[in-house]
Symmetry: C2
Subunit: 254 residues, 2 copies
DNA sequence: AAGTGGTCTAGACCACTAG
DNA sequence: TAGTGGTCTAGACCACTTC
């Protein structure tokens, strides 16, 4: 007569807890620097054992939405801290969203130069569906030139739904500290944890060829990226062209 | 005076168990069809609680070296079964090692035609270090043309250390059922679970241009892949050229 | 019915960080 | 010293598969 064995609908408890935490993270609680409640407190709040909370947090850690630090707490990872090479131990988390490396293998972080910034451009029909916005919705468009070791290697075109980045202007964009994704996180609460990319080899458009000192029509790598924040919310579309004469796009699968 | 609290050197028990299991898998025990001992039996064998075994197995499942099937057991995944679209549920495991898709998005598996097979070629110095073999070590070289919907899209050149594939000849290679990686797994015990890829845009070599019906020098995507089996052992290097006029290389990160 | 993996509990003890 | 996450235990019960 186990009348107290709970209802037990379909989804396991740890999944409900994971989704609840994910929603809280997507909703902007617990910004990058502040710790989550301790596992014991979360267990009390959800009325379950600590092990169940740990199972939920494990998932979010695997999805790169959280990091644990023994003795300190559990945090939303700081994207800029990740992008910077770590002192202690190998920099496995570095370069997570930057995959262009020199042929030899030495990993250098790029220097970014803002070429152009437009605060309100109607969204083309080719981009709107990827970001889940209406066609002709107002967008912010920026173009960057990235140099590695002084040499221009990547030309970026960024498309941001204006509604997700209220008040973002050229000064804030150019004057940021750290990476673009760090700005999305600290300025607007969008923690990018996943990207979908599509790559093609194309003949260099004239502007790209000029930037890289290439003959017109020379082969360049075209990368179309969609950046997704914690709840799989798309926040940026980026079209990049890379000069792969002396650099390569690296990809490790699974 | 806790004289029985165990030695507790550095590595946690679950890691030792994980490594032990990984070594057994790399050593060829438990081939694709046969289940591992049950978690209870493994716990007894290692003299620990079931939860500790589960922690170790969890890691190998995350690394795609094992799959659990409730009610049946824990298995080495069958690569060909993964590569085939699944009936039940979304085919999230399909296309794991094949990233070229039609522009629209419809995923078609390619048909492969063997163009060339050479049973013993000395390994070039440019390839040897990637596979951990000595320069001029004997290699098997194969070239494939892959068609998607009848259209030639990818030209592959495969380099295999002969020592890892004893007895592999053209007939066995061409007459296989399933994918190349399925052959590696079922014929030689090398379960590929990870790949490292480097991509560039290059001018099409003449032979590639001819195969794709491209003008000489047209841009094509060059993919250099190293395939790694369970213990991070490199087993294949592959240089592919892809026609990305109507197809794209897809990549989802983390 | 028996055997498998999946969920959840309750608690002990360890390792690390901070005040 | 107190609080955090990390490891490990021992066991209950559930869901699925096979006989």
């Amino acid at each position: 007569m186990s009348y107290m064995t709970a209802v037990n609908a379909e989804p396991p408890l740890w999944r409900l807890i994971r989704d609840s935490l994910e929603a809280a993270l997507a909703g902007g609680e617990y910004p990058a620097g502040t710790p989550l409640p301790s596992e014991a407190k979360l267990a009390a709040r959800f009325g379950c054992a600590i092990g169940t909370v740990r199972r939920a947090v494990d998932e979010l850690v695997a999805a790169r939405a959280l990091v644990r630090r023994q003795g300190k707490g559990t945090f939303v990872p700081d994207i800029d801290a990740m992008a910077r090479p770590l002192r202690d131990g190998p920099d496995r988390t570095a370069f997570y969203f930057f995959h262009i490396r020199a042929e030899g293998g030495a990993r250098l972080l790029p220097e970014t130069e803002l070429l152009d910034f437009r605060a309100s451009v109607p969204c083309p029909a080719s981009i709107a569906p990827h970001l889940g916005v209406a066609p002709r919705a107002p967008m912010i468009v920026a173009r960057n030139l990235q140099r590695i070791g002084g040499r221009p290697v990547v030309l970026d075109e960024l498309w941001l739904p204006k509604v997700l980045f209220p008040g973002l202007d050229r000064a804030a964009f150019a004057g940021r500290e750290g990476t673009v994704y760090g700005l999305y996180q600290k300025g607007f609460g969008h923690s990018v944890i996943r990207t979908d990319e599509r790559l093609r080899a194309v003949a260099a458009p004239t502007e790209v060829a000029a930037a890289f000192g290439l003959a017109p029509g020379a082969p360049v790598l075209r990368i179309q990226r969609i950046a997704l924040a914690i709840g799989d919310r798309p926040v940026e579309m980026r079209i990049s062209h890379a000069d792969t004469r002396e650099h390569e796009y690296f990809n490790t699968l699974a």
